[in-house]
């Protein structure tokens, strides 16, 4: 079966991952998909064929550039980050970090309140 794409709230994650990976070196599509899976421990997975639509869209927007390279007898299209892509990555990463921190705070508060309700208020109730 085809790998299930991630849910809706993961929109924007493939771009972020791709831009992050390409910050280090130029890569081709298959390599990018495998690297995302490996680096996120399979938590984030881009559909095998879907990655190219993201790459092409980023290239159209000027965030990536591509070139055909022959490696080990096989011709492949390699993608590299542009200056605009680097800027976009920094903006995206900043937004995600802020968002993640905010969500984490909310979840921690929620966990704390649940803990209070379950163990302290619940215990007090039982004692009465």
């Amino acid at each position: 079966m085809a790998r299930e794409p991630n849910p809706n709230f993961m929109a924007g994650v493939p771009e972020l991952m791709i831009l992050r990976l390409l910050q280090e070196r130029e890569m081709y599509g298959y390599e990018i998909v495998q690297a995302i899976r490996a680096e996120t421990g399979d938590v984030v997975s881009i559909g095998e064929g879907v990655a190219y639509t993201v790459l092409h869209a980023l290239e159209r927007e000027g965030a990536l550039k591509s070139r055909r390279r022959r490696v080990e007898g096989r011709s492949r299209i390699y993608y590299a980050l542009t200056q605009a892509g680097l800027k976009r990555y920094q903006n995206l990463a900043g937004t995600w970090l802020t968002l993640a921190r905010a969500i984490q705070t909310v979840i921690k508060q929620d966990s704390f309140q649940t803990f209070i309700q379950t163990f302290i208020m619940g215990g007090h109730h039982a004692a009465v």
């Binding site: 079966m1 085809a2 790998r3 081709y28 599509g29 298959y30 998909v33 559909g47 095998e48 064929g49 879907v50 190219y52 639509t53 993201v54 092409h56 869209a57 159209r60 096989r74 492949r76 299209i77």
Partner: protein, 230 residues
């Protein structure tokens, strides 16, 4: 059939630019080859397993459409590709060629083509054939090729073939002769130094009719063959 040909067909029918589709399909095939090589280690039908992992044709088509890929110009502006562009090409080419020939022949302006050196006569004959008999069919063939490539069956294709036939029936380089003493870019029939509107109309209608009939037959046949094969 090569892998992902259905993806190509569906995207072409959706009006996506052929160049963008070609790139997508090439990369999908390369990815499939890599994935197949990886899956070989697991035994069984590695190719089939890899193809399944890539996602269904519908998913791959939808994934591309969701990213708003570039649309083909022939889909975005068929009036420009099939109507305006060939008409402008016919008029501009005929006029530019006529101007260039007039300038080239200026030192011999008092001579009729039959009195000129052989090389000039050959050039006049070549240019007359090119503008009179080749520009129209070449543009009609180009329009048909664009429409077939993009899987179009728009009314603009027919409209374009009519316009090409009409304009190339009228616009063509002509050298001076007994009736027409000037170089020109339009085929006007003259009698006794005066324009013959009926004769001109018949000549244009005849030329346009022949070109339109031939290009319409070619378009219908090739379109029918494409429909059968896809």
């Amino acid at each position: 059939m090569q892998p992902f040909e259905n993806v190509r067909e569906e995207l072409l029918k959706a009006g996506i630019a052929a160049g963008a589709i070609n790139r997508y399909v090439i990369e999908l095939r390369e990815h499939l080859a890599d994935l197949t090589a990886k899956e070989r280690g697991n035994g069984g039908d590695a190719m089939a397993r890899a193809r399944t992992l890539m996602g269904s044709d519908t998913q791959l088509v939808q994934a591309m459409l969701d990213r708003k890929p570039p649309r083909a110009l022939s889909v975005k502006a068929p009036w420009a590709v099939f109507g305006l562009a060939p008409v402008v090409a016919i008029v501009a080419l005929s006029w530019l060629i006529a101007m260039a020939m007039m300038r080239l022949m200026w030192p011999m302006r008092d001579l009729m083509p039959a009195q000129m050196p052989g090389s000039y006569q050959a050039l006049i004959a070549g240019v007359t054939i090119f503008t009179g008999y080749l520009i129209g069919p070449l543009l009609a063939a180009t329009s048909i090729a664009i429409a077939l490539r993009q899987r179009l069956s728009s009314a603009w294709v027919w409209m374009g073939l009519v316009l090409i036939a009409l304009f190339s029936g009228f616009f063509a380089f002509h050298a001076p002769d007994a009736e027409r003493p000037m170089y020109g870019a339009a085929l006007v029939v003259m009698h006794g130094g005066r324009v013959d509107p009926t004769g001109t109309l018949i000549l244009v209608a005849l030329r346009a009719g022949i070109l339109f009939t031939l290009s319409a037959i070619a378009w219908r046949m090739l379109k029918a063959r494409q429909t059968v094969t896809t």
